[in-house]
């Protein structure tokens, strides 16, 4: 296929946490709200005068200093973030807001705070830690709303003078939804039998929406959507199987590239930093305040394994099944960042359930933060693709 016009622009944005659009927004006087977990409601971080950046550590090299502080048993994502913070890589941030999503991310940010690793020269800089619900119910919703008030809206108003009114929040949701709708529409081009966008290209676009001010990439995303309407696919589909990637944090687009180079088209992305459900629009009504509706949406759609009630646990697997059906997947790749406790368990159960109860071929893998050079992973995905092909030839799952 012909290259997407703006792909290099978006790829370039992913090379640095402090990318050129972040710098541009800050030079316009906007405050940068850094966060580290998908359970932080994004629209609240993108009010008038602020923009959000979900932290990542592109081009990570040595993480030795962070390993001293966190030991080698914490996931490489948390270590890479801390290392980058110690290196001064997040000094552009004006605050860090984090929920206690998992112990590792909590410790990562606490270390940043105790080591004064981020923006120590900014006098209004602050850290906020949030409690977030572990079950999707009314009690959880009340907690979520209160925590967002106390740990996002209140400090933003007090420290930076941001308008946190219901009207301001609704405006932020409208902007968020525009991006979400665009990503959704672009993502739909993955559904066809010979798709006009690769999983890698889509991952780049989606990731950019998490790490750059959304309004500054809006026009290019719109152009990309237009471009896809007429983009011609290759005459022969280069992929031998279609897979849903499910699992923990993936901000390394090289992982998606590796999967696709191994013959499996990533037709759906159900991981942290992915678009499903992370780029579902938030539907607001007028009969309830926006904050409550946002929190309810995040709580109900959340696929994080920290949600522990039975309905949510079951829903995680049926959601993967529904994605596989909607996007026409032949198989599922369950991935977890090495040392991630929540996804270690979810991967184990999910891979068994999707294989045995839903009948999908499933590959379960764990991976480091940076994967591109992994021959092991390549071999495993290639073998998985072959096994799917063999099953197809032999007539499906009933033959093993």
């Amino acid at each position: 296929m012909k290259d997407l016009k703006h792909l290099i622009f978006f790829e370039d944005l992913l090379l640095e946490a402090n990318n050129k659009l972040v710098q541009q927004a800050q030079s316009d006087g906007r405050k940068c709200i850094a966060y580290v977990c998908e359970n932080t409601p994004e629209p609240l971080l993108n009010l008038e005068g602020t923009f959000s950046v979900r932290l990542r550590a592109p081009r990570t090299g040595s993480i030795d200093v962070a390993t001293y502080y966190l030991t080698s048993f914490l996931c490489e994502f948390s270590r890479a973030l801390l290392e980058r913070a110690i290196e001064g890589g997040y000094n552009f941030a004006d605050c860090v807001i984090t929920p206690d999503g998992c112990s590792m991310m909590n410790r990562c940010v606490e270390n940043m705070e105790l080591l004064s690793a981020v923006s120590k020269d900014k006098k209004d800089f602050f850290y906020e830690y949030m409690e977030i619900p572990m079950k999707a119910d009314d009690n959880g919703l009340n907690l979520y709303v209160l925590q967002c008030k106390n740990h996002i809206l209140k400090p933003l108003a007090e420290k930076f003078g941001i308008d946190t009114s219901d009207a301001a929040i609704r405006k932020a949701v409208a902007k968020y939804n525009r991006i979400a709708e665009l990503i959704r529409a672009i993502g739909d081009y993955r559904k066809g039998p010979n798709p006009t966008i690769t999983g890698y290209e889509f991952a780049v676009l989606t990731l950019a929406t998490y790490v750059a001010p959304k309004d500054l990439i809006l026009d290019r995303l719109e152009e990309t959507l237009e471009e896809l309407k007429t983009r011609e696919p290759d005459a022969k589909n280069p992929f031998r199987a279609r897979v849903v990637v499910v699992g923990s944090e993936v901000d390394d687009t090289e992982f998606i590239k590796l999967v696709e180079e191994s013959g499996a088209f990533v037709c759906a992305d159900r991981y942290c930093y992915g678009s499903l459900p992370g780029r579902d629009p938030i539907v607001l009504t007028d009969d309830e305040d926006a904050l409550t509706q946002i929190c309810r949406t995040y709580m109900n759609r959340g696929q994080c394994p920290r949600y522990m009630n039975t309905e949510k646990m079951d829903a995680r697997r049926t959601y993967v099944d529904s994605l596989a059906k909607e996007y026409g997947a032949d198989g599922i790749i369950y991935e977890q960042m090495k040392f991630c406790d929540p996804w270690a368990y979810e991967k184990m159960l999910g891979s068994h359930i999707l294989r045995e109860e839903f009948g999908y071929p499933v590959l379960a893998v764990d991976r480091p933060y940076n994967i591109a050079g992994s021959g092991q992973m390549r071999t495993r995905v290639q073998a998985f693709v072959e096994s799917i092909e063999i099953k197809k030839i032999q007539g499906g799952a009933q033959n093993g």
Binding site: E131, P133, M308, N309, D341, P342, Y345, L349, A364
Partner: protein, 521 residues
């Protein structure tokens, strides 16, 4: 053989390749007779337990039951070197815990569909986690609150260091990553292996202690709900437990849990009983505070494993629900005061005053006894004993009935261990140094449970702070339930190396430095 404390060479009791020691300890006529009489009581408890056919059946059905043959040996490991009041304190605690566990096992097998199958009894059973405060059961005296994980994994590893290995392997063979905490991993392994009794009207799980426990519960609840038809309530205790803005959420979770139990058992919450239990909780807190006050002086009395194991049981598993523990609290306090007045000490020589922090190695719970006997390091207190000191409402008034939900929530949030490993760095990092000062400790023994992410995540800052404060910080790595990763000798070596190379000291009892206990229970 010696009557005096510290005269024996304890290392000579161990036999390479054997599960048991070569002989019992001579403690002088009075103490030996006392110790022997308690041994007979334990054997009596075991004998009584085996009189019931369903319990014998369970011995053959459940793999982990074989570990209970090692009960007398476990007590002997904890009484090593103890005399007089210290020996009696240890027996009061351990014998009570043994009796409590025997009753727990008896009840589990009575209701178990595979052994006793008493269906009427089973309808009165509420299953709870091992890693869960039982506060939510304080007002249900008509129900039986039973934990299956306590006997199958928690106690089993106390009895036999190798007890959990099979279940850890089962979980990993099923696809669980090998880097998670082996405790919930083993519990999940028991469930995957279908090796837990099946009974109960319902179950209440909790997200305490940690991410691993929360996720491991998902494995267990799947079998409970989908296969055994036992409804499960997941009780969410907030992580940031010191914050005011999470307490309403926590209290509502308690209300919801009580409503769930009432719905599935038909039982009605009993406020009178609740406040009776609350009084016992307060009494236990008061006693523990008195013991800790003594431990701040030169004459600590209830310390080491005498403090740790008992607090874990009494604070978390009992939570005021069993009157016998109040009686034990009273006896222990009396003995401690008696020894304190007489300025007695539990070992020949006290060289260092240590705070034990982090999560202790479960397969080597008697390590604290070893620490004292081998190197004269006095374990003044441990992280798991530094639990809630808040007095909860104990008078039955309308206001206190409302307050009670917050108190139960507070206790649940402040489950042992997680009250330190979660809730922000202050409770884990900052308060350690406050305790070090309060207890006049010159040393911190820091258990590094290697797959505990919450603890590992403060590793560097522990080191930095200890260096700033000039406190000896001794790391002791272990893998909680799995001695194949770091053996008991591997644990000891970390202390031995520090004491010899950094402190340049010789052991008080050199025979204990290297022990052939790889195969030992």
């Amino acid at each position: 053989m010696a009557k005096e404390i510290g005269k024996d060479k304890f290392g000579s009791f161990y036999v390479a390749g054997s599960r048991v020691r070569n002989r019992r300890e001579w403690r002088g006529v009075k103490d030996t007779l006392y110790d022997y009489s308690r041994w007979l009581v334990i054997m009596g408890t075991l004998g009584k337990f085996l009189m019931k056919p369903r319990n014998v059946k369970a011995m053959f059905r459940y793999r982990w039951m074989a570990n209970y043959l090692a009960v007398p040996m476990m007590v002997d490991r904890h009484t090593q070197g103890l005399r007089q009041e210290y020996l009696r304190m240890c027996h009061i605690e351990q014998d009570l815990i043994i009796d409590d566990v025997a009753k727990l096992l008896g009840n589990l097998f009575r209701g178990d569909r595979r052994t006793g199958n008493d269906t009427e009894f089973s309808k009165k059973v509420v299953l709870v986690d091992e890693n869960e405060m039982t506060a939510v059961m304080m007002g249900f005296p008509m129900l039986k609150c039973l934990s299956r994980e306590t006997p199958s994994t928690y106690v089993s590893v106390l009895l036999n260091q190798h007890a959990a290995e099979h279940y850890i392997d089962v979980a990993q063979e099923f696809g669980l990553a090998g880097d998670v905490c082996p405790m919930p991993e083993a519990e999940a392994g028991v469930s995957i292996d279908d090796d837990a009794p099946v009974l109960g009207a319902c179950a209440v799980q909790c997200n305490t202690t940690c991410d691993g426990s929360l996720l491991g519960n998902g494995v267990i609840s799947r079998r409970l709900e989908k296969e055994d038809g036992i409804p499960v309530f997941q009780l969410a205790a907030p992580l940031r437990h010191r914050e005011d803005d999470v307490q309403e959420y926590a209290a509502q979770e308690i209300r919801n849990a009580i409503a769930f139990i009432e719905q599935h058992t038909g039982a009605k919450w009993d406020w009178t009983e609740y406040f009776e239990c609350a009084k016992r909780v307060n009494y236990a807190t008061k006693c523990r505070q008195e013991w800790l006050d003594m431990n701040r002086t030169d004459y600590p009395q209830v310390f080491g494993s005498n403090l740790a194991l008992y607090t874990e049981t009494n604070y978390m598993a009992i939570c005021g629900r069993i009157a016998a523990f109040e009686k034990a609290d009273r006896k222990l306090t009396r003995l401690a005061e008696q020894a304190f007045k007489a300025k007695k000490r539990a070992a020949k020589e006290y060289r260092h005053r240590a705070i034990i922090w982090g999560v202790q190695s479960h397969y080597y719970m008697d390590f604290l006894v070893w620490l004292l006997n081998c190197w004269g390091i006095v374990p003044l207190t441990d992280m798991l004993s530094m639990v809630s000191t808040r007095k909860i409402a104990e008078e039955d008034t309308p206001e206190n009935r409302e307050q009670a939900y917050y108190d139960m929530a507070w206790l649940t949030e402040n489950m042992i261990m997680r009250n330190r490993t979660h809730g922000g760095y202050k409770v884990l990092l900052d308060e350690l140094w406050e305790f070090t000062e309060q207890f006049n400790a010159d040393m911190v023994i820091l258990w590094e449970h290697m797959s505990c992410k919450a603890l590992d995540g403060m590793h560097g800052l522990f080191e930095d702070r200890a260096r700033e404060l000039g406190i000896h910080l001794v790391w002791v790595s272990h893998d909680l339930f799995d001695p194949r990763i770091i053996s008991r000798q591997g644990v000891r070596d970390q202390i031995n190396n520090y004491m010899r190379t950094v402190m340049r000291e010789e052991p008080i009892d050199p025979s204990l430095e290297i022990l052939p206990d790889e195969e030992s229970w």
